[in-house]
């Protein structure tokens, strides 16, 4: 049980910077996921926490104590590695007892504690096995038991589930979450899988190109992403280029390749001027797709609609280009004046559509996120 402070953490290898100015406070007993694509510096950050890498700059504090220059073996952190790194010449039980052996725990006691830990991860009957003969899921459990056996202040998990198949991975996510809640220890979990982060995390820290861009609750980072990278990384979305046509106190009006002038309702906090280049994000879940031409009210110019009824609905006409069945949902790729946008419906929703059908896409302008050319988020409303 420990809280962690990372302050201005930086790691450079010669000319390349792997981690740049990462600062975050991790609460006691929290499960923080560091999420990012490969090469984003999340594993390097974790390795610095473990003491396996020395930061070029910055400080790491565990419970207020500066451990920046403490080697891994003096730090009471414990890592579960991506390839699990079990000792191949030791039995499963010897693997789990290793950390206790290094702490000079007497033989009988360490055997007992290792066995108890194996049972906790449902591997009690495998103590005498050769770890190289185990399956991936079993190795992962043994690696977890080995790391937990030393009662670490912080458990560090470096993508331990990424080598498992999908089903097993999902089971393990829930199990890991349960173990965490049970132990009330601080966990830092590194992953490139958004679903895994959303399933496990109390808070998610999103990293890209060595920087920690945003830290927040799962729903906060999903619904309120700080920049365009996060919006694109956390789920599938349609990015549509837009140019600001004009603005007034109620909305920003933009021209896009979708052919119609679109409304972005705003209270004027955006600071945009006409001519500014934007990228809009239309997530598939905000789009409704229906057969037929849009009705006259919806195709009236945005300006008219906003003035007349205060509606923030946008509608465009298009043609279904292709249909992809994805199990529980069906994804429609709709071409609109040469541009392409995808929308999703659950399979059960009425009237199946097929390629070539004329359709209308509708969405509420309130649900659209806008980003400037440099990727930063446009705040359309006063926070």
């Amino acid at each position: 049980m420990s809280d962690i402070t990372l302050q201005g953490l930086e790691k450079r290898y010669g000319e390349t910077t792997a981690v740049e100015d990462v600062s975050v406070e991790i609460d006691d007993g929290e499960l923080l996921c560091l999420l990012g694509p490969s090469g984003s510096g999340k594993s390097t950050t974790l390795r610095m926490l473990a003491g396996l890498e020395t930061p070029t700059e910055g400080a790491i504090r565990l419970d207020g104590e500066d451990v920046t220059d403490q080697p891994a073996y003096d730090r009471n952190t414990s890592t579960v590695f991506q390839d699990w790194a079990l000792f191949p010449h030791k039995t499963v039980l010897e693997n789990v007892a290793f950390g206790l052996k290094m702490r000079d725990v007497p033989t009988d006691e360490r055997r007992e504690r290792a066995q108890a830990m194996l049972e906790r991860v449902q591997m009690g009957g495998y103590g005498d096995e050769d770890p190289t003969t185990l399956s991936g899921g079993q190795k992962q459990r043994v690696a977890l038991a080995r790391s937990l056996a030393v009662n670490p202040d912080v458990l560090l998990l470096d993508e331990p589930l990424s080598n498992l198949d999908k089903r097993l991975r999902e089971d393990m996510q829930i199990e890991l979450r349960e173990i965490h809640d049970d132990l009330e220890e601080t966990f830092v979990h590194v992953t490139h899988d958004q679903d895994e982060a959303f399933t496990l995390a109390d808070r998610i820290g999103i990293m890209n190109e060595g920087e920690l861009i945003q830290v927040g609750d799962p729903d906060e980072v999903y619904e309120n992403p700080k920049n365009r990278f996060i919006e694109g990384f956390l789920g599938d979305t349609n990015f549509v280029d837009a140019t600001v046509a004009r603005t007034n106190g109620e909305a920003v009006y933009v021209e896009t390749e979708l052919g119609a002038e679109l409304i972005l309702p705003s209270d004027g906090a955006h600071g945009l001027e006409s001519g500014d280049e934007l990228t809009l994000s239309l997530r598939p879940e905000i789009l409704s797709i229906d057969r037929g031409e849009p009705d006259a009210a919806a195709t009236a110019t945005a300006d008219q609609r906003a003035v007349t009824d205060g509606s923030t609905t946008n509608a465009v006409a298009g043609t279904v280009a292709n249909v992809i069945y994805r199990g529980s949902t069906v994804r429609y790729s709709v071409s609109i004046d040469g541009a392409s946008v995808f929308a999703e419906r659950t399979d059960a929703s009425s009237g199946s559509l097929s390629a070539g059908d004329d359709v209308t896409l509708e969405w509420d302008g309130e649900d659209v996120l806008a980003f400037r050319a440099d990727g930063s988020r446009v705040s359309l409303r006063e926070p």
Binding site: L52, L86, H89
Partner: protein, 292 residues
């Protein structure tokens, strides 16, 4: 599978599948024997037959006018070997040299292999190249070169000089044997050990050494066998007599072939015992020899 092959072969007179199905019906052991024939012939010609001749000569009666009495059977040569204090002191010295050089070469080889394993880029290439470089020079020249090097230090002639020169001969093989296994070891395992509280030396001892044990065994056997049978280094750099030098004397000066052959057979037995002991002892410290 076999059926499918034979039907398609009969339906289509394809020469390749015809040969294939004929091979498939041939018994596995006969084919294996056929493939091993050149190796078996080589072993017979170069190893088994000469050794049989050696064994036969060791049981012949020594002769004062020839190298041995042809067609005689006698244990006289073995009696001479076991009765001679000189021979036992020569053997003692040979084994002493073997043990000292083996311990040093495995210890230094382990460090050197670790250095190669952990280095990268130019440094790694340089370290590897400098192991192989001495092997490109003739052994005799390499060994003679120690004379001017060691004389100022007062190590020639003497056992210390012999140990240094013999170590120089066997060390590259020890390094390569250990490094070849170490190179397949996963560095993450060492990191895991350190993460769990093992200090640097402890992590190597607990995790790396057991994993490279097959390489260490090979290094130990090569160093030991070569050093016990050392000829060039003791001959060129000291007045000491090792087993190999003594056998040479028996054959070329004393013309006593049966004694030389008997000594060689005794030596072979002793060496086999020692190598079995090396395997037995080292294997207990971990490592799986089947993986070597």
């Amino acid at each position: 599978m076999t059926e499918a092959t034979s039907t398609s072969a009969s339906a289509l007179p394809n020469p390749i599948s015809a040969v294939r199905s004929r091979l498939a019906t041939q018994s596995g052991s006969r084919r294996a024997l056929l493939l091993m024939a050149p190796l078996i012939a080589f072993e017979l010609l170069i190893f088994v037959i000469p050794f049989a001749i050696l064994l036969r000569i060791s049981f012949a009666a020594p002769s004062s006018d020839g190298v041995y009495h042809e067609g005689t059977w006698s244990l006289e040569a073995y009696q001479q070997v076991f009765a001679s204090d000189l021979i036992w002191s020569v053997l003692g010295y040979s084994f002493f040299l073997g043990v000292v050089v083996t311990v040093l070469s495995v210890a230094i080889g382990l460090f050197y292999a670790y250095a190669i394993w952990r280095s990268s880029g130019v440094v790694k290439s340089l370290l590897l190249f400098s192991v192989v470089l001495p092997l490109l020079t003739t052994l005799v020249i390499r060994t003679y070169a120690f004379d001017p090097l060691l004389v100022p230090a007062g190590l020639v002639p003497g056992t210390a000089g012999v140990v240094v020169a013999q170590l120089y001969i066997v060390l590259p093989y020890a390094v390569l044997a250990i490094y070849s296994v170490m190179a397949t070891t996963d560095w993450h395992v060492v990191e895991a050990a350190r993460d769990l509280g093992a200090s640097r030396p402890r992590s190597v001892l607990e995790v790396v050494v057991p994993q490279v044990m097959p390489g260490i065994i090979v290094a130990a056997v090569v160093s030991f066998a070569w050093s016990v049978g050392a000829y060039a280094a003791p001959e060129l750099l000291s007045n000491s007599i090792t087993f190999a030098i003594y056998v040479e004397g028996l054959m070329l000066s004393d013309m006593s072939y049966p004694t030389a052959a008997a000594l060689s057979v005794v030596m072979l037995g002793l060496m086999s015992g020692c190598i079995a002991a090396i395997f037995g002892v080292l294997n207990r410290f971990g490592g799986d020899f089947e993986l070597a």
